[in-house]
C-alpha cells in the first residue's frame, strides 16, 4: 500500500476525488456568486465538508475530524449567526460599483490560477511517500508528538493568540456606555421638546392582515407608517412594504367575505 501510494492511488479514491472535487468546486463557485450571504455560507459549509473527506482520504484523520467539528461546526455557525445579525434576507447586488474592478479581478484570478497550476505542473512532484510510516502509531499520536515537542512553542503561541482573539472580539463588540442612561422622565421631556411623536410608538401590523415585525402598520387612511417598525429593521431597509398588497389583500378579504355572505345569503335565500 505504501509502495503503491508512491505514484498513484486506488481507483476508489480517484472516483471519490473526481466526484467530490467537482462538488467542492461548485460549492466554492456558489460561495462566490450567490446573492444572499446565507446561501454563500451554506455552500461554503458544503465545500468544507468535502474537504474534510479529502483530509481523511489523505491520511489526515485528525484534521478531517477537526475540519468538520471546528470549521463546519463552529466557524460556519458563527458566520451564520453574524449573517442573521446583519440581515439574513438582505440580498447583495452583484453589480460592480468600482470601475474595471470585476474585469481586473477576473483577469488576475485567471492569471494567478494559471500560473499557480503551471507552477505545480512544473514542480517535480513525482515522489509520493505516503503517510503509512508516519501514521504507524496513529495519526493523532503522531501529531501530538510533534505538537508537544517540535512545535510546542508555536502551539503555546496559538493558545495566546486565541485568548487574545477572544478578548479582542469582546472588546470590539462591547460598547461601553459613556454617559448616564436617560431616565424615562428625561426621555419624555426630550420628546416633548423635540415636538416629535409624543405617545408611545404604535405596534406593527396594526390594521394589517398579520402582525409580523417587519410590516408597517397602516394608518386610518390606509397608508403605511414606518414608525411602527423597529428601528433596526428600518435602518436595514427590511421593511416589507405591504401597504398596496395589504390593501389588495384586504379588498380580496372583503370580497371573499361578501361573497360568502352573499352565498350564505343566497343560500339562505335559496334555502
Amino acid at each position: 500500500m505504501t509502495q503503491f501510494a508512491a505514484y498513484t492511488t486506488s481507483t476508489g479514491e480517484a472516483f471519490q476525488f473526481w466526484v467530490l472535487g467537482t462538488i467542492a468546486v461548485i460549492g466554492a463557485l456558489c460561495t462566490v456568486f450567490m446573492k444572499k450571504a446565507v446561501h454563500s455560507a451554506l455552500c461554503l459549509a458544503g465545500t468544507m465538508i468535502v474537504l474534510a473527506v479529502f483530509y481523511l482520504a489523505n491520511g489526515a484523520y485528525f484534521l478531517g475530524i477537526v475540519q468538520i467539528v471546528v470549521y463546519t461546526g463552529a466557524i460556519m455557525m458563527l458566520f451564520l449567526f453574524v449573517v442573521m445579525l446583519v440581515g439574513v434576507t438582505a440580498a447583495d447586488s452583484l453589480k460592480e460599483t468600482i470601475k474595471g474592478q470585476r474585469w481586473l479581478a477576473l483577469l488576475c484570478g485567471l492569471g494567478f490560477g494559471i500560473l499557480l497550476i503551471a507552477g505545480i505542473g512544473n514542480a517535480s512532484l513525482k515522489e509520493f511517500d505516503g503517510l503509512g510510516q508516519a501514521n504507524a502509531n496513529g495519526n493523532v499520536e503522531g501529531l501530538a508528538a510533534l505538537i508537544f515537542t517540535k512545535y510546542v512553542f508555536a502551539f503555546e503561541l496559538t493558545g495566546a493568540l486565541l485568548i487574545t482573539a477572544a478578548v479582542g472580539a469582546m472588546v470590539l463588540t462591547h460598547r461601553e456606555r459613556t454617559e448616564r442612561a436617560k431616565t424615562q422622565r428625561e426621555l419624555a421631556e426630550q420628546r416633548v421638546r423635540e415636538g416629535k411623536h409624543l405617545p408611545p410608538l404604535p405596534a406593527p401590523g396594526v390594521y394589517a392582515r398579520h402582525n409580523a415585525v417587519d410590516i408597517a402598520g397602516l394608518l386610518p387612511d390606509g397608508t403605511a407608517s414606518d414608525l411602527t417598525v423597529s428601528k433596526t429593521l428600518r435602518d436595514r431597509g427590511q421593511i416589507r412594504d405591504v401597504s398596496a398588497q395589504a390593501l389588495s389583500d384586504l379588498k380580496a378579504l372583503e370580497q371573499r367575505a361578501e361573497d360568502r355572505l352573499e352565498r350564505t345569503n343566497s343560500g339562505e335565500g335559496s334555502k
Partner: protein, 648 residues
Amino acid sequence: MENLIALLVAAPLLGAAVLLCGGRRLDAVGHWIGTVLAALSFVFGAVLFADMLGKDPEHREMSQHLFSWIPVEGFQADVAFQLDQLSMTFVLLISGVGSLIHVYSIGYMEHDERRRRFFGYLNLFLAAMLLLVLADNYLLLYVGWEGVGLASYLLIGFWQHKPSAATAAKKAFLVNRVGDVGLSIAIMLMFTTFGTFAFGPVLASAGDSGEGTLTAIGLMLLLAACGKSAQVPLQSWLGDAMEGPTPVSALIHAATMVTAGVYLIVRSAAIFNGAPDAQLVTTVVGAVTLLFGAIVGCAKDDIKKALAGSTMSQIGYMVLAAGLGPIGYVFAIMHLVTHGFFKAGLFLGAGSVMHGMNDEVDMRKYGGLRKYMPVTFVTFGLGYLAIIGFPGLSGFFSKDMIIEAAFAKGGTEGWILGGVALLGAAITAFYMTRVMLMTFFGEERWKSRPTASPEEPSAEPAAEHHGAHAEPHPHESPKVMTIPMIVLAVGSVFGGAFFSIGDRFVHWLEPVTGHTHGHPPVSALTVTVATVTVMVLGVGLAYLQYGRRPVPVVAPRGSLLTRAARRDLLQDDFNHVVLVRGGEHLTRSLVYVDHTLVDGVVNGTAASMGGLSGRLRRLQNGFARSYAVSMFGGAAVLIAATLLMRAV
C-alpha cells in the same frame, strides 16, 4: 628720507578719511583741511625732490617697504613704494597741480553745500594717484589705478541729482573697468611668466622672456592705458566726464589721471622694448586717437568738450611718443608735464568763464569776453599759445620733440606717424583758435540771447544760485581762482624752455626710461619749421572761419564729418547699439531663460511629479478591494517571476 614717501600718500588719504567721515561739523573748514593736506603732500614731494637732486643721477631711486600685503604661497604682494625720477616727476605734477586746483576749487565750489565732500573726493583722488605712481609693483599700482577710477567716478557724478552726471560717471567707471581687465590680465601674465609682479624683477628679467609673452603683456597694458587715458577704442567716456565740476576736469581729466596710461607704458618700457609689435600697436593707437580727438575737438560747441577732445588728442601724442620706444619715452613724459600745465590752465580758464557766465558752456553763446575777464583771457591765451606750439612756449618744445621722434622712427612708419603728428598739430591750432575766438573775441553773443534762455540739460547746479534765466553779467573770478590760473600760465609759458634747454629733462629721466637720440630723415630744423608752418596754417584757417565771420548762435548743420564729430564720430552710437542694446537684450533674454528654462526644468519636473502622483492618487481610491486586486496581481507577477527565474 625714504620714510617720507609713505607720507606723500598718507597726507591726502588722511584728508579724505577725515572729510568723508567727519560729517557736517567739518563743513566750515573742510575745504581748508583738504587744501592744506594736498599742499603738505606737495611740500613732502618738494623735500624729496631736493634730496634727490642732491644725489648722483644713477642712484636717485628710493624705496620704502611698508608691509607684506598679500602673502600667499608663491605669491607675494607688498605695500612698498619706489620713488625714482619718473615717479618724482609725477609726484610733483600731481601734488603741485593738485594743490593749485584745490585752491581754485575753494572759489569755484563756494556755493555748493557739499563742498566738504568735494574736497574729500579730491583728496582721495590725490592719494590714489600718488599711490599709482609711487607703487613698486603692478598690483599696488592697480590699487591706485582703480582708486583714481573710483575718485573719478565720484567726482564726475558729484552732482548726482543730474541723471546725465550719474550716467557719465557710471560710463567712465565701466569703460575704465574694461581697461582694468587688461591690466589685471597683464599682471596675471607677469605672475605666470616671472613669478612676481614687482617692477624691479619683472623689468630686469623682461628680456629673458619670449617676445610672444612680452607682446601679450604689452598689449594688455596698452588696453589698460587706453581705458585710463581715453585712447581709441576706449575713449568714449572722456567727453561725458565733463559733466563733473570743472576743477575735476582740469585735475583728473586733463592733467593727471588720464595721463596714467602714459605712465604705465613708460614705466613698462622694458616690456615694450622687447615687443616691437606691441609698440607698433601703441603708436597706431596714439596716432589714431590724436586725429580722433582733434577732429572731435573741432566740432564741439561745448567749451569743456572741445577741451576734452583736445586732451584726448594730446594724450594721443604722448602715447604715440611712448610707443616709439627709447627715442620717445622722455618726450612723452615731457609733453605730459607741459600738457599738465597748459591743459589744466585752459580748463581752469574755461571754468572761470563759466563761473562768470552763469555756467553756460556753449561757446556759441560767448564772445568778446576779453574785456570782462582780463586775467582769464590772458592766462587762457597763454595756455592757448602753449598748446598750439607757439615757438618758445612749452607746448612748442615738447610737441616738436614728439613730431621729430615720430619721423625718427624711420621707414614708412616714420613718415606716416610724423605726417599724422604734423596734421594733428595743424588741427590743434585750428580748434584751439576756434575756441579762443569764439570765447574771447567777436561780438558779445550772450547779449543777443533770447530772454527765455533754453535750460541746458548740462547746466551746472550753481546756476540755481545765480538765477539761470537772467542775462549773464560776465565778471572776473575771485583771486582764489585766478592765482592758480596765473601760476599754471607761468608754467605753460616757461616749462618747455626750462626742460629743453640743455636737455635737462632728458638727463633727468634717462636713468629710468633710457633714451636714444633719434635721427629723423630730415633735419630737426626742417621739422620745426614744418611744425610752425602747419600751426600758422591752422590758426589762419580758423581765423578765416571764426574771426572774420560772425559766429551763428545756433550751430549750423555742418558737413557730414562735423555732424559725426559732434557725436564723437559715432562711437557712442555704436556703443549704444551694439553694447548697451545688445547687452540689454542679452540680460533680458537670460532672465527669461533662467526663469523658464533653468527654473522651468526643475519646476517642470516638480509639476510632472505632481501630475503623476495626482494620477496615481486615483489608484488610492480607498476601496480595500482595489488594493486587494493590486496585491493579488502583484502576487501573480511574483509567481510569474519565480517561474521565469526557474525556467531561465
